[in-house]
Amino acid sequence: MTDAALIERFLNGDINAFNTLIWRWEKPLYNFILRTIGNREHAKDLCQMVFIRMYKQLKTLKDPEKFSSWVYRIALNLCKDEFKKKRTRRTVSLDALTSEDSDQNTVKHQFQDRSIGSPEELMQNRQVESIIKNALKKIPDEQRVVIVMKQYQGLKFTEIADILNEPINTVKSRLYYGLRAMRKVLEESNFSKEVLLHEM
């Protein structure tokens, strides 16, 4: 059953159709939020907030065929709110900044703290994920969002442009510079060349 059909059933009072819809979208949305904000607990909370907003606002969705873009837009708006909160926390308190850094770890710290052996070990221990996550945090939000949408969510450029309400070329440009920035961050983290070449 398509999303549009589930939405229609939900709007006709079938709550199970909505549960099916959120089970279907739970994983992609959670991963989108997680990669965008970089924190599992926050990602879970935000994911649930997305579902609550979906539940409340689904009746306002005019075209159910555009549900995907609509739900990503909700998730993105929540992520943007999270970015703002983070920035506030950073500007308000140096302690908070320190604690955040210590909680989340920078790429450099990870490399220093963890005994990194070969790249194979890194991958086995999911440390690559951690490094990527931290590298993603270091690039501008707008570039990270586009990378996540394209690289992980597999959205078309037109869909991303629709969600972000930006021209397609802007999306492509952000993706290009985002990937270049990612590479630079990874290289700076003493991680890149060996791992990258190994990955190839």
Partner: protein, 226 residues
């Protein structure tokens, strides 16, 4: 980039969003252009590395339960569902508004003798319209009858005149014939009278002549002197 290749094009190639012709062209360029090739390879390496971060299963176990709606909520929902279907509500609303307006303007509609009568307000009731219509109809019928009568009258007058003329002609002819006949009779009588007179005159003339002759004779003979 040292060449003219736009970063957007490389990105489109990287994510396989170029059409076949364009893709062929760009791949050919990459083979020739070292700087583009380097950038493209770096982009590929980066994305391959990014792929190492696999999707996680959140296990949120979020379940939405059907919340029993309050009376207000259920009405609100019904109104929402109703208003979301423009055709569903626009027709009855438009009809209701029309009915209210018609009521306010004291609209009356009546079908009478094949005609629809429409009236607004107190002054223009259907009955008065009906009466007016009937009056108009009667007037038109009367006018039509009058016209017909006039036509028939004119025809009758014309026929009567024609008949009179015909009768007059006939009477005149008869009169003239009678006059002719009388004239002839008169002429005959006159003729007969004249003939009689002539005969009498002739007889008297002859008698006179005879007397005169006798007298002459008598006078001329001596024997006859007294």
């Amino acid at each position: 980039m040292k060449c003219d290749m736009a970063p957007e094009t490389l990105i489109s190639l990287l994510y396989d969003e170029l059409d076949l012709i364009e893709e062929k062209k760009v791949r050919k360029h990459i083979e020739c252009c070292a700087s583009c090739r380097k950038i493209y390879q770096e982009l590929e390496q980066t994305t391959t590395l990014l792929d190492q971060w696999e999707d996680e299963t959140p296990a949120l176990k979020t379940v939405f339960l059907h919340e029993p709606a309050t009376v207000w909520q259920s009405w609100k929902e019904k109104i929402r569902q109703f208003t979301e279907k423009p055709l569903a509500w626009s027709i009855p609303v438009a009809a209701s508004v029309a009915v209210i307006l018609l009521f306010l303007f004291q609209f009356q509609l009546k079908y009478e003798n094949g005609d629809w009568l429409v009236a607004f307000g107190k002054s223009g009731s259907v009955e008065s319209q009906l009466e007016a219509k009937m009056d108009a109809k009667i007037e038109s019928t009367l006018a039509e009858l009058q016209t017909r009568n006039m036509e028939q009258l004119v025809t009758l007058i014309q026929e009567s005149e024609a008949r009179q003329r015909r009768d007059f002609t006939l009477a005149l002819n008869e009169f003239s014939q009678q006059q002719e006949y009388r004239r002839r009779q008169d002429l005959q009588l006159v003729g007969q009278g004249l003939q009689g007179l002539h005969r009498q005159t002739e007889g008297r003339y002859q008698q006179t002549s005879t007397l005169i002759n006798d007298l002459i004779r008598m006078t001329s003979s001596p024997d006859s002197q007294p």
